[in-house]
């Protein structure tokens, strides 16, 4: 059964899931790392990205426009949420938990009112195959991985090689010290939250041709992203990479070898075992 072609395909399938999971989880991780906010509406930000593509289609714009606009639209929405809600709840993780959970319900209902309760579809932007080492693979998935890798690389660059990133890392380590050094923390919080939301929105837009677009669909990815962040080590960007690779590849490769139900359970069990021996995550201190 395990021929080389399908093994390679399976590896690429895993890589697609991994890159999308990382893109979603990075937003979740930086928002938590910098602001101490656990954003339960992150899955809804993801699905808002997908609905941006649907809206573009309704306006007779191509899916590419939708994909390009999604991070902008969702990023602005995130900024609005930060100014309107999150700003009042800094350093109160339990309250933000409740507030963002409520927000997720509000977003779902708004989407329902605007787009209807039914599943929505838009034309596929890029159907067709590409040859990878002599085997064919859908070209859109290759594109998707390339975009994810590029965006993840840019995010890392911003965090570790720019002034902005330096300030953010300073805030993550010690807010009071950072503001004493004339870092405008509330502006940094605003940009962090908008950036995290934009990444989720981009991921949602990119995944539109591959997933079910419905008001409820964000939850599927939210649970897995939390998992990635916790497994990788909270507050660590590198941890998100590790967590994403473990969760995504394990689930895809295992579900090729054993039944999907058992595979999904096995990933959970393996993760629990890892957390048991490395309570701060794979990359946590």
């Amino acid at each position: 059964m395990l021929e080389l072609g399908s093994l390679l395909t399976q590896f690429l399938n895993g890589a697609t899931l991994v890159s999308v999971l990382i893109l979603i989880s990075i937003g979740l991780a930086i928002i938590f790392g910098v602001m101490g906010v656990i954003n339960l509406a992150h899955g809804e930000f993801f699905i808002l990205g997908a609905y941006t593509v649907i809206a573009a289609d309704v306006l007779r714009l191509s899916a590419w426009w939708g994909i390009a606009l999604a991070p902008v639209v969702v990023g602005l929405f995130g900024a609005l949420v930060e100014v309107g809600i999150i700003r009042f709840l800094y350093r109160r993780p339990l309250e933000t938990l409740l507030a963002t959970w409520g927000l997720s319900i509000v977003i779902r209902q708004l989407v329902r009112i605007v787009f209807g309760v039914g599943y929505r579809a838009s034309p596929h932007p890029l159907l067709g195959d590409v040859r990878v080492f002599g085997f064919t693979y859908p070209i859109y998935r290759v594109f998707l991985m390339a975009v994810c890798v590029a965006v993840i690389a840019i995010t890392f660059y911003v965090f570790y090689r720019t002034d902005f990133g330096l300030k953010i890392r300073a805030i993550t380590q010690d807010v009071e010290m950072a503001s004493a050094l004339a870092i405008n923390t509330s502006r940094m919080y605003l940009s962090t939250f908008a950036l995290g939301s934009a990444l989720a929105g981009l991921a949602g837009a990119l995944m539109t041709p591959e997933i079910t677009v419905s008001p409820e669909a964000g939850v599927n990815f939210l649970a897995r992203s939390f998992f990635v962040v916790i497994l990788g080590g909270i507050g660590q960007l590198a941890g998100v990479l590790g967590g994403g690779i473990v969760v995504g590849e394990l689930e895809t490769l295992l579900s090729y070898l054993i039944s999907a139900t058992t595979a999904q359970a096995a990933v959970l069990v393996i993760a629990i075992i890892i957390i048991r021996f490395r309570p701060r995550g794979l990359f946590g201190g």
Binding site: S6, Y119, A121
Partner: protein, 394 residues
């Protein structure tokens, strides 16, 4: 497109119904029986993942109610609804069923989608001795006093479909389904029919709810090369899988046949849905005067509703069958009403149907193919009525 039932309307209808029952409490029993409207409890998912079906189910029920009242009600009694949202949660379903029976004192309960919800609601209605009609296609085998089913069971969806597939598509099958009872029971029937006719099942697997990525299944199907991909995935999982199947270009070699896709799922698939063959007891495109009248009338009442499919049609039929039974029995009295339902015949949008002695409906078996990105189907073959086969096990 906007959600046309608002909380206020809902509260109003609930409030109206409870008000009516309070107002009639003082009357002597005889007088009350003549003056009181017949009351139906409508239990649907208006929030949660099943809202996608629940909203249209409610609208279909309300359209049936309008038809009944326009024709003078049930033996002169007006038909009133008490509408409740089960929130796609069986625990809530149990509470709402109790409320409908004990506080609102409805004569009969109609509704629910999932088997879990039906088991929850049925556990209350049978104990409280109130008749309950369940409108959704399901795995069969649910046999409890006073629970009647207007949705299809596996033999009605599959018995005619599988031989047609083997004659017209191919003899090698791959089965994939959501990991719960309906796909597992249906696949048993599919497997038996395929193997009896000399075909083979190359693979059979089940997936947990909300699986985001089906590429490993797609990969396995690509390497086993079956002629037929028989999908028993449901709801959003069905849409996700079929999109990915299409994106990998597998529709060129393998045909999707399914009893889990109807108009609503197909609309979510867009171009990925074209060519899918489905077996249901109802499709919107049935070309009969009766169905045209139904679709047009329904759209006049709910202009934002684009698609009706077999589950809401089952709900519409459920309300009509319940009304006919109430007329026959004269009241919601348990012993009279449970005897009144079997044998009822109704001219439904899908064609003639009747309630068999095993508490299930004899329904039509229809095969259709999705032909555009809007989720519309073209009828391939209508086999007419198939009686329900039910081996009680639940």
């Amino acid at each position: 497109m906007a959600n046309t039932i608002t909380r206020r309307e809902l509260l109003k209808s609930v409030g109206y119904a409870t008000g009516a029952s309070v107002a009639t409490l003082g009357h002597p029993a005889v007088l009350r029986a003549a003056a009181q409207p017949a009351k139906m409890g409508i239990l649907v998912s208006l929030t949660g993942v099943h809202a996608i079906f629940g909203e249209t189910m409610l609208h279909c029920a309300q359209y049936a109610q309008k038809e009944i009242n326009d024709r003078g009600g049930i033996e002169g009694r007006k038909l009133d609804f008490v509408i409740e949202d089960d929130e796609t949660d069986p625990k809530v379903g149990i509470e709402k069923a109790r409320k409908l029976i004990k506080r609102d004192q409805v004569d009969v309960v109609v509704g629910s989608i999932s088997s879990a919800m039906r088991n929850a609601v049925g556990s209350v209605t049978t104990k409280e001795k109130r008749v309950y009609l369940y409108p959704t296609y399901y795995e069969g085998g649910y046999c409890h006093d006073g629970v009647f089913i207007t949705g299809a069971v596996p033999n009605q969806q599959v018995e005619r479909f599988v031989p047609w597939i083997m004659e017209n598509v191919g003899k090698t099958f791959y089965i994939a389904g959501s990991d719960y009872i309906w796909p597992r029971e249906t696949s048993k029937v599919v497997r038996a029919l395929v193997e009896k006719r000399g075909g083979s099942i190359l693979g059979e697997e089940y997936f947990p709810w909300n699986t985001p990525d089906f590429s490993s299944l797609v990969n396995r199907v690509a390497s086993t090369k079956p002629a037929v991909m028989y999908s028993l995935l449901i709801g959003s999982d069905s849409v996700t899988f079929l999109k990915q199947f299409h994106n990998f270009g597998l529709k060129k070699t393998t045909r999707i046949c399914t009893s889990g896709v109807a108009e609503k799922e197909a609309a979510g698939l867009g171009e990925a849905g074209i060519g899918i063959v489905s077996s249901q007891s109802y499709f919107m495109s049935i070309d009969t005067p009766r169905n045209k009248e139904f679709v047009e009338g329904f759209r006049r009442m709910f202009p934002n509703e684009k698609l009706v499919d077999s589950i809401p049609e089952g709900m519409y039929n459920g309300v009509h069958v319940a009304a006919l039974a109430l007329a026959k029995a004269g009241s919601g009295d348990w012993s009279k009403l449970t005897k009144a339902v079997p044998g009822i015949r109704y001219k439904a949008p899908q064609g003639d149907i009747w309630m068999a002695d095993n508490r299930h409906a004899a329904l039509n078996s229809i095969i259709a193919e999705a032909y555009n990105e809007k989720g519309e189907f073209r009828i391939i073959k209508n086999f007419g009525v198939t009686p329900p086969q039910v081996n009680c096990f639940q």
